[in-house]
Symmetry: C3
Subunit: 355 residues, 3 copies
Amino acid sequence: MNMKVREIAKILEGKVIGDEEVLITGVSGIKEAQKGDLTFIANNKYRPLLKSTKASAILVPSDINNTVDAVLIQVENPSLAFANMLNIVGPEPVVFASGIDPTAIIGKDVLIGKNVSIQPYAVIEDHAVIGDDTIIGSCVYIGHYTKIGKNCLIYPHVIIRERITMGDRVIIHPGTVIGGDGFGFATVKGVHQKIPQIGTVEIGNDVEIGSNVTIDRARFDKTYIGNGVKIDNLAQIAHNVSIGDNTIVVAQVGISGSTVIGKNVIIAGQAGITGHINIGDNSIIGGKAGVTKNIPPNTHVTGFPARDKWEDMRLQAYARRQPELAEKIKKLEERLEKTERRLKDLYGENEPENS
Amino acid sequence: MNMKVREIAKILEGKVIGDEEVLITGVSGIKEAQKGDLTFIANNKYRPLLKSTKASAILVPSDINNTVDAVLIQVENPSLAFANMLNIVGPEPVVFASGIDPTAIIGKDVLIGKNVSIQPYAVIEDHAVIGDDTIIGSCVYIGHYTKIGKNCLIYPHVIIRERITMGDRVIIHPGTVIGGDGFGFATVKGVHQKIPQIGTVEIGNDVEIGSNVTIDRARFDKTYIGNGVKIDNLAQIAHNVSIGDNTIVVAQVGISGSTVIGKNVIIAGQAGITGHINIGDNSIIGGKAGVTKNIPPNTHVTGFPARDKWEDMRLQAYARRQPELAEKIKKLEERLEKTERRLKDLYGENEPENS
Amino acid sequence: MNMKVREIAKILEGKVIGDEEVLITGVSGIKEAQKGDLTFIANNKYRPLLKSTKASAILVPSDINNTVDAVLIQVENPSLAFANMLNIVGPEPVVFASGIDPTAIIGKDVLIGKNVSIQPYAVIEDHAVIGDDTIIGSCVYIGHYTKIGKNCLIYPHVIIRERITMGDRVIIHPGTVIGGDGFGFATVKGVHQKIPQIGTVEIGNDVEIGSNVTIDRARFDKTYIGNGVKIDNLAQIAHNVSIGDNTIVVAQVGISGSTVIGKNVIIAGQAGITGHINIGDNSIIGGKAGVTKNIPPNTHVTGFPARDKWEDMRLQAYARRQPELAEKIKKLEERLEKTERRLKDLYGENEPENS
């Protein structure tokens, strides 16, 4: 990489504060950056590093205009602008040439679009459909009648069982299992009898699903993942769950059966949501929260059991005050005892009858 | 599907309340049901939907006999009855023809029963045993000397290491790893030296294990999964754990090393159980609970640290009352101060000596 | 197995208390041990079993010298000594002969060291490097330009994406995914746009990683796993995390993006650590703890939100005392009311003006 700040600012439609002629030779995080590097500020925690970073140029939001050693490039969204630079200067992405590897096993009546890449040892069962420009990684399993959209990237070792449908531009990372049986049993005299899970999973467009995620098929009907949903590694989505458009599910989250999640919700890492409830649009569920009942839209809940964030903080603060309050109670008891004794002294033997 | 309520009731041995001649053309959940659908009531949360559902017939337990628009079919266990209907009217299940795919790799001295299906790219190591009527999915790995029972269904990409044994009618979903090394190290001068994990895993009959589960092999002896145990996705069963018959382990549960779980226990989602303890028969461990000590039989524990459910609810209720109690303490302090002042006024200078 | 206590003590450099001529025919845990077995005491919980075990000989630390029925063999580290015995008397380990299976797919310009074993259906992409004496299990995927060190054991179905590097003697258990994209999006008008994750993962020497773990590649730069780190099953290590030497990460732990973990840290099961924070050397993070801020070195934190262990225990103890404290408040109120009434009786109509 060898670009002047001026050239970078032009590509990113940014405004330069400082010397436009500075030469940029690399990209890096703000902590690790060295002379010659372009970096950026996205997380407020890192703002103090504006002064100490060794980077030569920093992408900043338009409200930052301090004079620092590094040249600033003001842009609307520094994360996104930096991402665009990464695409330009990053290492060559791995290319999987189109075509079907001779070791891939393709069933009967499989429909394969144009410009599809099917890597070694992939297994595609009868009646599956693979859309144009999609990449199927090595050892991927695509079940019977499953439909994969266009321009999808299915990484190695993804397992997608029968009768699943997904839209276009879906990315699925390795080891993820889609369409495993829902966990449903009817217990008869102590023995758990399997309830057939004859439903499916429907995944929208522009969905990204991390590594080793599990999304179960519905008992009947479908488990639903809306357009633009992003799911992180090791999350569990149970049968008949529905997730609205553009919702974010962070790593190791668990969502129990038949729960309905709204649009634009953020569910932070390791949170758990019980079954058969509704989470309203634009809600935020804190990390490790345990949600046990419906959450209205536009609500931020935290803790276990999850409650309104401010209420949770208030109760946490009171919990920290417990030792102090216990001490106050002890002192009150001592003072009251003293007061009672004095009062008795005053009454002497003439204790009132009604007390 | 095209059946009259009368015919369905006959198959399910149910009692009809309403018009037996109503035509049923599909099955569905109670919320999504349309005219012509058969549905059922299992979860009490959905009882209010009896009146609003568009379903034409509803499987109900025998204590429900309200007159609603839909015809009712009283059965002993509506979930199970509905499951039976799903088996009759659901989509054709995927069939894996028996036989060994030519791409499957079968080691030396492997014993393969009658009517076994071994799918593409499965690898079965030397001395393994596969029981009659068992299906081994594509890319499954079966280690040396491992024994799989009869009528098992091992989904694609399951990894079962060496010297594991399992019973009959076991179902294992994709991506699950059985027999990985237990997590055992002896730390000598800050360096963690591996303790060999030479034990095995023994799995009973009629066990079902979800997707991307991990069950570690024992240090010595065995990790044990009893008959009829059902384990959901992404659960972690550490080395030397023992799980009693018909116990249910929900998604993302973690059970630490050498812990012994009784029979008919229910461990809800994301619960964690520390190592070297005992969980009694018929116990229930709540979702996200953190169990740190032995649990007697027939006990319902919740929370972190896990305690008796009612005690936990009581403490939660008191935690919510903290602000109110703090307010009471403040008022007591004010009142007592006032009382003390008045008392001092009464005493005047004649303060008693002993106070 | 057929060895005298004397012979075992010689191998383990232990000191015998009791009859050196006792014959040992097997090894076992202290609970399951039978006559003829050698066992050991590592966990203090099991010390009471010294008297009741049926074992014929017990490896003990040097501070145990009680006379019991079994012969004692004092050693420095009973766990490690027992581990050494297991290596001697355990079942033959599975051997994977060196050589490249004809079904393995090896890309262009792959460098393969001496004495390497590459099992069936492994896929190794262009420009990868595999060190001497390393075993690559069946169906393993090694991405472009990835470098695996010497003497590594990569179990079946491990997926390692492009440009990852790892040191020597690394063990990775089945189903683990290394180098999946970090979970990074820039949200523009409600739509989450992918931030390219062009960094890598660097893994040191002597690292062991469990089954179905996920370790994401960095946004840029690298996700770092230090020498001697041990990671248990189903853990999640997000992008740009750095883990210091000899740190232990127990099952189902989640570490969020850009967090820096020190050396010799222990992170117990199901703990979660937020992003962009520092965990000091030698710290201990309790099971299920939720760490939300920096932790200084040598600190033991527990609970959610995680705090100093003793402070957490103190607050837990006060939480349990809440019902008692509420009762005290109620009694104080009653007593104070009584006192106020009496005082009023004394004052009669002559209420002081200033009250």
